[in-house]
Amino acid sequence: LFSSPPQFRHSAIPLDFDISSPLTYGTPSSRVEGTPRSGVRGTPVRQRPDLGSVRKARQVDLHSDGLAEDVVATEQSLGQKLVIWGTDVNVASCKEKFQRFLQRFIDPLDKEGEDIGLDLNEPRYMQRLHEINMVGEPFLNINCDHLRSFDENLYRQLICYPQEVIPTFDMAANEIFFDRYPDSILEHQIQVRPYNALKTRNMRNLNPEDIDQLITISGMVIRSSQLIPEMQEAFFRCQVCAFTTRVEIDRGRIAEPSVCKNCNTTHSMALIHNRSMFSDKQMIKLQESPEDMPAGQTPHTVVLFAHNDLVDKVQPGDRVNVTGIYRAVPIRVNPRVSSVNSVYKTHIDVIHYRKTDSKRLHFVDEETEQKRFTEERVEMLKELSKKADIYERLAFALAPSIYEHEDIKKGILLQLFGGSRKDFTHTGRGHFRAEINILLCGDPGTSKSQLLQYVYNLVPRGQYTSGKGSSAVGLTAYVMKDPETRQLVLQTGALVLSDNGICCIDEFDKMNESTRSVLHEVMEQQTLSIAKAGIICQLNARTSILAAANPIESQWNPKKTTIENIQLPHTLLSRFDLIFLMLDPRDEAYDRRLARHLVSLYYQSEEKMEEEYMDMAVLRDYIAYARSYVNPRLGEEASQALIEAYVDMRKIGSGRGMVSAYPRQLESLIRLAEAHAKVRFSEKVETIDVEEAKCLHREALKQSATDPRTGIVDISILTTGMSATARKRKEELAQALRKLIQSKGKTPSLKYQQLLDDLRAQSDTAVTKEMFEEALRALADEDFLTVTGKTVRLL
């Protein structure tokens, strides 16, 4: 392994001392055997292959630098002034500073520390050392952010000269540790692993200046190699006199001794594999995460080398944050060819892994989202949230190419924000759904698909499927055999993939029965149960569903109810918070506006569109910010308003003897009100939010739950699949039929057609065959009659 900072000279940070002065140089040997002198009993040192071959003295060309050999001599006397060659790191002071950091660093606002059960008012890293003593895992993870806030200069040194500074840190940590716990015996000495270096977040920004520096990048593991045993120390034995010797690896090479030192026989030394020392190593390919990629380019990859216990820590497909040292290795000079390829090979020696999505299974991954906002951006978003018309403004910015349909856009906007997540597990009700589900139905060609596409493109974790093309398997999860490892793996489908996002399902009505049944669980419980090929599990699917359905007949029939038009089971429909109709309004003024809007699409300049595109980015950030930071709770007034609203809704129907609202509607209202509070960045749900929620809810009901026969909004259309009036009429008809039959006297059987004609003659409204059959069935249920073929028998 080759590494030498001088060749990447321009990467060095300006040094604050005179390099040319011979006084400031020390040879690296002064720091290498840097193991604490105290308390080493029983705890061996272990090499750190992740830092490269630290043992190798740096090649200092004393002649060319004009330095005398007195460097070593001055070393002792200079003490404090000594720095490692090529850097500004002074071992002693660096060690001291780091020890101070370990002993003193306290961060009362440390969220991460709280999660793992540390006492925030005690020095964090001392607690970690205590933990090491208890658990015996000799690794100390250091958050570079902490170090930076504690000692800016030390942080800079760590970033620029990790290869020199980290061993010093090791030394410091071990000294403290064995001071405190002198009797502790670990597998090997503590190794410090810094993470979260803010140097680089994106693979694309890596450049030659980062070479040999400590960097943190995020990405996705795409491939990992088999374990590679890398020889650290070779063991040779002379075949003549059995003299043995050890040779350490030097830049990836073992220099085989050609002469036995003992008996002076040439070429008698043989390698003994069993007694050589090896360390584990693994090659991993990391690809940049799709979010970091500029549009229209292919992702970059970078090679990682993981050593020892970091081997096999990550699997292909994992999203990880990697902290390590960036290396560039020249392709080796070939003795037979004088010219060499001038390209370097680059890789990262991994020091620390941090999986970014392992947390996601239990909690929203705030880690990744938090970092995305700069302070100015947050300021800007907050400024925006104070605007009185922010709700309308955002709704307007949503899918500007789709004309009007303001209510639908508002609904979708609230869906994007979502309600507050509540946990009632301890009272036995589990989680309350915070996601808002929306169904759009309407005529074909009213840009429903376009709206879905827009939403899918807007949200980071969106999925788009079509009801026609998706099976239950595609939506949920399936088990497949990994071609590489021959391992059975669970492949997640659209619903699971859109956990914490939105799943857009087009052509909802074309979905087959079994697929749709999957949605029942997802839409209320927000989980997905799988029992397949021996894998039984419950996955989270906290996804909002935005579905679009076309009417069964090619056009929406205004004379029919929503259920009759789209032929979806009411059990499913009642799980949608909002159901909108997207109909083609037949209105001159509307047509006029629409025409103007469309014409403008066809000649507007690119720049003008750019402006709107900007808005999309702002909108995206606004939503992401609200989703991760704002978590509104119901205020007292708002609770009252909600209760009133619910009671009002119940009242409407009670006069006519029907139920006009169910607890589900109340839950929907709460969610909508919470989402609206989020739009305002408000931590408290207030009456105004309830008002807006009511407004929208009413509007959606008006569109979808109006009984076409009476013109009255009737919730039971959606909850039971039939309007109250329709049910009433059915009963009346059955009674009329019973009377008719009874009036016929004691005939044991009647002709079907005859009876229908009689009933028709008697009734003042039109009686269809279906209605008649339904009435017969109702009477049969009452054990009044039976129908066999074309005859009706009385019982």
Partner: protein, 619 residues
């Protein structure tokens, strides 16, 4: 001071070449890798290459400045490493890898292939416009087997229709390979390398379309590489590097990789893909690279307003636009068996282009479904050949159960070889994709087939292709003109369905179509080509006044018949109006054009309705 790279020097190089290439026709004097086989070009000379970015590799760090040492005398010399693959040093010298003078720099590698589906005439003409000297490589006595002729002379020859016919239709069944003898020579040499014994399986050059020929190239870009995207069409000027050492270095490495774990970062496949033999995949170190708006060699490469020459060209052409249009309409009418309405729509289709995207909606796409095509007379085959003669790049996709299930449509990432394996739908902007549905039979599509059909549908509706990256999909916007020929309504979505009403059914389709082509003068054919490429690049606007009129019209239409006129119809009418205006060279919508657009749409719809009722009666 010397360890800081002299950036002035680097800027001056680019400046110098930029200036030099601006001089009259200087670009034509640079030999092109598209036309001249690699082995006839002098290594380390300036070449140009017209290509599409197929894949982007990881950036690489190289020795921008390095130092060599003579072990005997200890003399040190500094060298520049830019624009070359290999750090050279003299026989008595060694490279000092530990030198403090070394400067590491960064460059980006693109894997480029010739523009997929590039028509034969584009290759032909761009070859002929090059002056004689350029065609002859300075290093060898290579003379292309074709006679050196100037462009004018060539036109004269083209007056003889029989020869012309031979050229265009001689290749019979193979529609991709309308290749002249010269190109065959290139292929022969390429083919030779492929079969060479030390290279066990032939290297897949990763062309998007099957049966493509030509050199693939590793293009090394030194600046502004962020501005290029996958599928961009570029013209690059740079230093050709075919150093055989490259291949040696690779093979050496491969041998040692088994011994040394450090070197096995890359798999053997990755090695093969990322450093293929230079003889097969040459390297170009880019000095200048520019994105091309179009690849039509008959047009000035860069159509910018400032340049007086292009202005002149455009205005000259515009003055004779209407006769050209009329002639083109006539030509296409004959091609479409006498159906002038379909011909009109075909013109609109051929000049359509996605000019903007409004959130997810691509504007300006105009996918036409030509239904009612006669099935058994190879009509679509011949129609495609005519289109191929008109547009710079095209592909004929014959839909069949077999091809749907077994072809690779969507490019996908191969992580073992670390490259983007191309698919049929990885096409450059403004490529004409002619989909022939007439040959499709009933049958069962498998998973791959369903994915392929979905991808085609997405391409038509949203003008984007979701490339498969195994762990995720990535969306690549595209701009492809899709023409679907079918018997009934196509199963794929389209913006506009035109039902063909043939006026004549020629007994021998082949004869009819080829005679059609021979009847057109080559100079006229070239005008057609300019016409279609140029009009695509024009700007367009609608005045307030006309907006008002359109508004009124729409309201009126809705009043009379709200069922049949929807927002969708208005979309279509506006599209038709846009391209109709542009096809006449008008950059604003006039009232007359609007009415004409309405009229065309009405005619088209009436035809569809008529067709439906005919079908209804049959049932």
């Amino acid at each position: 001071a010397q360890n800081v790279p002299n950036s002035d020097w680097e800027k001056k190089v680019t400046e110098y070449f930029k200036e030099k290439l601006k001089e009259n026709n200087a670009t034509n004097w640079v030999p092109s890798l598209n036309d001249v086989p690699v082995h006839y070009l002098k290594p380390n000379s300036l070449v140009k290459f017209r290509c599409m970015v197929q894949d982007m590799f990881d950036p690489e760090f190289y020795m921008g400045v390095y130092e060599t040492v003579d072990p005997n005398t200890n003399a040190r010399v500094l060298h520049f490493g830019k624009y070359r693959d290999v750090a050279e040093c003299g026989p008595q010298q060694e490279i000092d890898l530990n030198s403090s003078q070394t400067v590491t720099s960064e460059r980006q590698t693109f894997y480029c292939v010739p523009v997929p589906g590039e028509s034969a005439w584009v290759k032909e003409i761009s070859f002929l416009t090059e002056p004689v000297q350029a065609r002859v490589s300075p290093s060898t006595s290579y003379t292309p087997s074709r006679h050196k002729r100037s462009y004018e002379e060539d036109e004269d020859m083209d007056l003889h229709p029989s020869k012309q016919k031979e050229q265009h239709l001689g290749s019979g069944g193979d529609i991709h390979g309308c290749v002249e003898p010269k190109r065959l020579e290139t292929e022969a040499s390429a083919g030779h390398h492929v079969i060479s014994p030390n290279c066990s399986p032939p290297l897949d050059l990763n062309f998007p379309l099957p049966g493509e020929k030509g050199p693939a190239c590793l293009v090394k870009v030194y600046e502004n590489w962020e501005s290029f995207k996958v599928n961009d069409v570029l013209e690059v000027f740079g230093v050709l590097s075919v150093d055989p050492v490259l291949s040696i270095v690779n093979s050496e490495e491969r041998d040692s990789s088994t011994l040394d774990p450090m070197e096995c970062m890359d798999t053997a496949e990755e090695q093969r893909v990322h450093s293929p033999p230079a003889s097969l995949v040459p390297r170009i170190h880019v000095i200048l690279a520019q994105k091309l708006q179009h690849i039509n060699p008959l047009l000035p490469a860069c159509l910018k307003e400032e340049e007086s020459k292009t202005c002149e060209f455009v205005s000259n052409f515009m003055s004779e636009l209407s006769p050209v249009r009329a002639e083109l309409l006539g030509f296409l009418t004959h091609a479409l068996l006498g159906d002038s309405l379909a011909a009109e729509y075909l013109i609109l289709h051929l000049i359509s282009t996605v000019y903007a995207r409004r959130d997810v909606l691509p504007l300006g796409k105009f996918a036409v479904n030509l239904s009612g095509c006669p099935r058994n007379s190879a009509f679509t085959e011949h129609l495609y050949r005519l289109i191929q003669q008109l547009v710079p790049a095209s592909y004929h996709l014959r839909m069949s159960i077999e091809s749907m299930n077994h072809s690779r449509f969507i490019p996908h990432k191969d992580y073992t070889a670390n490259r983007l394996v191309s698919g049929l739908l990885q096409l450059a902007s403004n490529t004409s994709l002619v989909i022939d549905e007439t040959q499709l039979e009933q049958g069962q599509l498998d998973t791959a087939g369903v994915h392929n059909v979905t991808a085609l549908g997405n391409l038509i509706t949203w003008q984007k292709v979701d490339y498969d990256f195994n762990y995720h999909r990535m969306e690549f916007p595209c701009n492809i003109n899709v023409l679907i020929t079918s018997e009934g309504r196509s199963l794929l979505p389209s913006d506009c369905q035109v039902h063909l009403q043939p006026q004549i059914i020629p007994p021998n389709m082949e004869e009819y179509m080829s005679s059609l082509l021979t009847a057109v003068l080559p100079s006229v054919l070239n005008k057609f080509r300019i016409y279609l490429s140029l009009l695509r690049l024009l700007d367009y606007s609608i005045s307030d006044e006309v907006t008002k009129a359109v508004e009124e019209d729409f309201v009126e239409m809705r009043k009379n018949n709200p069922e049949s006129v929807t927002a969708d119809d208005l979309h279509k009418m506006l599209l038709v109006a846009r391209f109709l205006s542009l096809s006449a060279g008008q950059t604003t919508l006039s009232r007359e054009r609007w009415l004409r657009a309405k009229q065309l749409e009405a005619l088209r719809k009436a035809r569809l309705q008529q067709q439906q009722s005919v079908n209804g009666n049959e049932l």
